[in-house]
């Protein structure tokens, strides 16, 4: 009956293509790295300035000079490269990153994404999200289908300030997988035990 966080991350991991460079956002997207399928090798970018991001360090081996974009301590791999923020976003804006898997507050049926600000309440800032959605080859959103009030996060149009216009390619929620096409939203897959009708019922946006 619907996917949990790890199942959503595992499903998102199936999006990864061998030999590509990928950026994973904070939250559920970070978990994706635990489910990379066998035979698929991807290089993870951390937009604060590295390619080849490794796992968390062992206790006692944390290095304050080695963090990811979520400010968490991480480790390097044999193929790691470091660079400055201008070059890091140069490769993002320049389309060198094949895919970003990001969290979201709202997604609209035209592909608009909102994930940086709740007006008048919580100000966090867009960080690198606007650059990522504008620059990477493919944007996959992973999020719960509804908010804590049970309201749909997949909307006819975003109510929050948007991060990017028409940028989302695919939405993976606890209920299933939905593609944003030029004709509208299209259900690709339902989570175990979830029906197409249940997804439609839980979605404010029009499913075509």
């Amino acid at each position: 009956m619907a996917w949990d966080r790890n199942q959503m991350a595992a499903r998102a991991a199936l999006e990864l293509e061998d030999g590509t460079y990928v950026n994973l956002g904070i939250g559920i997207p970070t978990l994706v790295s635990n489910f990379i399928p066998e035979g698929v090798s991807v290089t993870l970018q951390s937009e604060n300035g590295m390619l080849g991001m490794g796992p968390f360090p062992y206790e006692g081996e944390e290095d304050p000079d080695l963090i990811n974009a979520g400010k968490q301590t991480i480790t390097e791999l044999p193929n790691t490269v470091y660079f400055d923020s201008a070059q890091s976003f140069g490769m993002i804006r320049g389309g060198k990153i094949a895919m970003a898997i990001l969290g979201a507050m709202e997604v609209a049926e035209n592909g608009d994404l909102a994930n940086w600000m709740i007006l008048g309440k919580l100000v966090k800032g867009m960080g690198g999200a606007m650059d990522l959605v504008a620059g990477v080859g493919r944007v996959v959103v992973v999020m719960d289908h509804t908010n804590k009030h049970g309201e749909s996060k997949v909307l006819k149009s975003c109510t929050l300030p948007i991060t990017g216009k028409g940028v989302v390619d695919r939405i993976i929620t606890n209920l299933g997988v939905i593609d944003v096409t030029h004709k509208g939203l299209h259900i690709v897959e339902c989570a175990e035990g979830v029906t197409r009708e249940e997804i439609i019922a839980a979605t404010e946006a029009t499913i075509v």
Partner: protein, 234 residues
């Protein structure tokens, strides 16, 4: 022309003015110019505009300058994890100009290399685009972003030689090189000053031409989010 100064206070002597624009390196608490920030706090200079990706945390990094109300305006991409920042912003005490992270880095680099403006797709159709010139290239819309030309740059590097040639360590590089280039005067603090000739000339991240004043000192290097994994017992 000696670039090396005895302390952060000495290195900032005579160049701090109320209302000035400071570009600061660092991302979160990683690679931040701790010593120079402390010296700016001590100086009492006020009404600062600071271009920096974050503003530290409440009691460390640029958060210290927010606590003392020396900052009038921040140019940043992310202010989460900083309750006082958010409070000052939401109450209208602090101006905040949000910049997408990559736009902020590129604006610093642009200022440093004499480019007053460039076009980017980042932020098109969002709040960020409001009031900005839009131009179409090859059928797509882009917005004009302007170079940042700061009065001073404050930067943290790992090592530098006596002529200011500097290297950074791992992800502590981040905004430091672009920030360094965009200030009229750039002051860097390092963990170690090494003799000229001891750094590989092919591997220098910030050539000394960008560095006007240089200090060495002890750094706390606080960790913001200590995440670890357990050693697997086989």
């Amino acid at each position: 022309m000696k670039k090396i100064y005895g302390s952060a206070e000495e290195a900032l002597h005579g160049i701090l003015n109320d209302g000035m624009l400071i570009a600061a390196g660092g991302f979160g608490l990683c690679g931040i110019p701790e010593l120079l920030i402390d010296a700016i706090v001590k100086s009492g200079v006020k009404d600062l505009t600071v271009a920096s990706n974050n503003a530290g945390v409440d009691n460390f990094g640029l958060g210290k300058l927010l606590a003392t109300r020396q900052i009038k305006k921040m140019m940043s991409s992310y202010v989460g994890e900083n309750a006082e920042f958010m409070r000052q912003y939401l109450s209208g005490e602090l101006e905040l100009e949000f910049n997408p992270q990559g736009t902020l880095a590129e604006r610093m680099r642009a200022g440093g290399c004499g480019i007053p403006g460039f076009y980017t797709q980042t932020g098109v159709g969002t709040q960020i685009a409001e009031g900005k010139e839009v131009k179409v290239f090859n059928g797509k819309e882009y917005i004009l972003e302007e170079g940042i030309f700061a009065d001073i740059s404050i930067v943290k590097a790992w090592k530098a030689d006596e002529t200011g040639n500097a290297i950074f360590r791992k992800t502590a590089r981040n905004f430091n090189p672009p920030a360094a280039t965009c200030g009229k005067i750039c002051i860097i603090e390092v963990e170690e000053i090494v003799p000229v000739g001891s750094l590989d000339p092919d591997a220098i991240h910030l050539p000394g031409i960008y560095v006007h004043r240089l200090i060495q000192g002890e750094h706390e290097k606080r960790i913001e989010q200590r995440t670890t994994r357990k050693k697997e017992s086989a």
